[in-house]
């Protein structure tokens, strides 16, 4: 990322688009950086549908999850919250010496004033005490019962959709064909890292395939992070904890499960931020079209400077 800000010439992606524009007779789409090339059917209908169902379900689960978190905005390791050990993360509000309410966030014993974002926020000029602010929670004000209703309904939507995706991706060989890294992929990891850092994007036939970092990211999300967050959510259920004599102990206990559930949720947010960033820099409209209609315009080759 740094080298783009230091380079006086335009970043590689727009430069590549410019290069293509001068070569290609067809009117280029300057925002996509993918002028010219053939339209290629990139995403099958089931993948597109399940992708957007997943976007809706995960978004609603994140927001309702943060509302649930707000009813006890502290996280612990172990089985219990009252073990004599302090919370490793705590968001709260306290009255300062001048009488004003301040929001604080304490992480591993370090306390930060987070007034305005965490602990205490302002809505229409009115200060209110709430862990995560109302614009990040569903319902927007503290309403635990309703947040749980949203969370557990969309948990089923997410789960059924996710199982459908895993079934499809294995059954259709999407996993073996498109997602599983090949030997050349693995040999090219170093180069792929450099390409990403330089915003050097694949063109031609290479653009029809996922690059190796993309494959790893998707595989980790689909087969590690999402199953883990589901498992940790199930570990919060006192009834499901009865299985195997208390299986949640394998993860350190119920409060550890709650911590892991929270950490994985934010790891997924981080993935989505990188994902959306890559979608934008490799051609927002072209990528969006490919996830809506399935069609992707393959960027032409030999446009690198």
């Amino acid at each position: 990322m740094n080298d783009t800000s230091q380079t006086p010439v335009a970043a590689p992606a727009p430069a590549a688009a410019g290069g293509a524009a001068s070569d290609a007779p067809a009117a280029p789409d300057p925002t996509s950086g993918t002028a010219g090339g053939e339209l290629y059917r990139r995403h099958a209908l089931p993948v597109r549908v399940m992708h957007w169902v997943n976007v809706v379900a995960l978004t609603l689960m994140l927001l309702s999850g943060l509302c649930i978190f707000n009813s006890h905005p502290a996280l612990y390791w172990g089985q219990s919250s009252y073990s004599g050990r302090p919370a490793w993360l705590e968001i709260g509000a306290t009255q300062a010496a001048d009488g004003r309410i301040r929001g604080y966030t304490r992480v591993f014993g370090h306390t930060f004033d987070t007034t305005g974002v965490l602990g205490v926020s302002t809505d229409a000029g009115q200060m209110y005490v709430q862990g995560f602010p109302s614009w990040l929670t569903l319902p927007s004000h503290q309403w635990l019962a309703m947040a749980r209703a949203w969370h557990f309904f969309f948990a089923w939507v997410f789960l059924i959709n996710g199982l459908g995706y895993v079934g499809y991706t294995i059954g259709s060989r999407h996993l073996a064909r498109d997602l599983w890294p090949t030997r050349p992929d693995l040999r090219g990891i170093g180069r792929s890292v450099l390409d990403h850092l330089r915003f050097r994007h694949a063109a031609g036939d290479a653009a029809k395939r996922y690059n190796v970092l993309q494959k790893f990211a998707y595989l980790v999300v689909v087969f590690v992070l999402l199953p883990l967050i589901v498992l940790m959510g199930l570990g919060l259920s006192p009834r499901l904890d009865t299985l195997f004599g208390g299986w949640v102990s394998l993860f350190g206990g119920r409060q550890s499960a709650r911590s892991i559930h929270f950490i994985v949720a934010w790891t997924l947010v981080a993935f989505v931020l990188v994902h959306v960033f890559e979608v934008i820099v490799t051609g927002l409209w072209n990528n969006l079209r490919s996830m809506v209609t399935g069609r992707y315009r393959v960027p032409q080759e030999a446009v690198h400077n």
Partner: protein, 239 residues
Amino acid sequence: MGAAGLAGCDRLSQTDWFPRVLGSAEKLNQRVATLVTGRKAMAQEFTPADLSPSFRSNGTSNPDNPEYQTLAATGFADYRLEVAGLVAKPRSFSLADLHALPSRTQITRHDCVEGWSAIGKWEGAKLSALLDAVGPTAKARYVVFRCADPMNDDGTSPYYESIDMDDAYHVQTILAYKLDDKPLPVANGAPIRLRVERQLGYKHAKYVMRLELVESFAHIGDGNGGYWEDQGYQWYAGI
């Protein structure tokens, strides 16, 4: 766009029909959880080393109820647990009667709907033994727990809860009279609190004064089976 979406979701939450759609997951959760774990699944039990140094009191810590305060003043010597409804032999139990029933001691984790957990050692009469003594009729489907703590500031809306017969007869379901080897403190529900270990904390009614065996709880409170259920919380609190 995000703000508009959130406002839309807030409006949906306020409708009559949408929460019912969301609530359809509750029955599914109960069915699946029961199917996966089995009806007699046992909650995890712990060792004395796991005990929370002091067991958190949540909700009511001292019922604002003159009758309760009178009972408390004499150490609950005059306390009687009434058992009524769909039973062959309605009767009341003194604390001594409850102590005479087969008991169980268990160290379990209490999971609050808010998200926290605490571990305590509970000792109490098995609810199954009490039910055997009164003989529920074939029609009885739920046990309703009527409590001494008013939930409104004006002293009205006493707490109540209900569980089904699977939970009522479960081995770990007890009417606890001891916490951490001491008589149950007022802050934790003296003289009697329900322990129904496979569900969240709000099902564990404190200050229990009366049990009613019923076929349906539709006629009680707002008809949802408990004080918090009437505020929109799920009746099935196994997740």
